[in-house]
Amino acid sequence: MRPGVERAVREPGYRKPVRSDTHRFQAYRGKEPPRFANRIELECARILDWYAIPWEYEPTSFVLERDPQGRVTRAFTPDFYLPDENLYIEVTVMKQSLVTRKNRKLRELREQYPDVNVKLFYRRDLERLAQLYRLRLAS
């Protein structure tokens, strides 16, 4: 594990996880059963799974800031990791015009970890794929 990268740590304010039945997922490559923060993350997992794209859920936390004692004060845990693409994905349900805060965090991550490939996955992406297959997404 690279310096500054730690196993997933739940941040304050973490919402009640959404249950999922791990055995339903064929492309999940994580060890622990995923417990999604919201329905849209579950939908994203299903889409990845439908396409048989190997995925992990929140496998890594990237430290963004530490206090003088070396304790982690800010970290960023992207929602998904696609090992075959070496790509982290952060899912957002917000309109693209309202994702400034997330974008800022992504920018910080890229500055501190330039070798990490991370992208935002918008609800719009899910909607387009859902429309293709007439899926009903959680609102």
Binding site: D21, H23, R24, Q26, R46, I47, L48, D49, W50, Y51, A52, I53, L82, D84, E85, L87, I89, K95, Q96, K119, F121, R123, R124, D125, L126, E127, R128, L129, Q131, L132, Y133, R134, L135, S139
Partner: protein
């Protein structure tokens, strides 16, 4: 279209590729591309569908190819590429049938939305902004597919649910 046809002709001259398009939104683009491609080529169609058997789900070919592609050069013809998930699925699925090659051409591309890179996309008509388009075979919930030209659809023209997604 002529530029795409010329580029494909230059690469496939003498090889008689099979143009494979997923229904329905790529149908008009396929027709025009076929007429703009001045080399012999075959045409085939697939249709993708989602399925679920209760515990698992996936993407499958609702309509498969009509003919074998073993040893043939396959060119996937698609209307839009963004995440690359659908094209990756098609590329992977057809590659299992031992074609000589699999590549792809798209009318519209949103490379900044890409999640999967191994999609063999070789020809791009237009790189477009992250907006919705309709017409020229592209439909939004089956509306506007039959419009003869490609139209940008502003968010205010969409139903409320779709606007949230936009």
């Amino acid at each position: 279209m002529r530029e795409l046809g010329a580029a494909i002709e230059a690469d496939y001259d003498g090889r008689e590729p099979v143009l494979v398009a997923p229904l329905k939104s790529s149908a008009v683009f396929l027709s025009d591309l076929s007429r703009a491609l001045p080399i012999l080529h075959a045409i085939d169609l697939v249709e993708l569908a989602g399925y679920t058997d209760g515990r698992r789900g996936g993407v499958r070919l609702l309509k498969d190819l009509d003919g074998p592609i073993e040893g043939r050069d396959v060119l996937l013809v698609t209307d839009v590429v963004d995440t690359g998930l659908t094209l990756a699925f098609l590329t992977r699925t057809l590659a299992q049938r031992h074609p000589a090659s699999v590549a792809a051409v798209t009318l519209l591309d949103r490379p900044y939305r890409r999640l999967v890179e191994k999609i063999g996309l070789r020809y791009v008509g237009f790189t477009v902004p992250d907006e919705l388009f309709a017409g020229y075979g592209l439909g939004l919930e089956e509306r506007w597919r039959a419009l003869p030209d490609l139209h940008y659809v502003p968010a205010e023209a969409l139903p409320a649910a779709a606007t949230d997604a936009a």
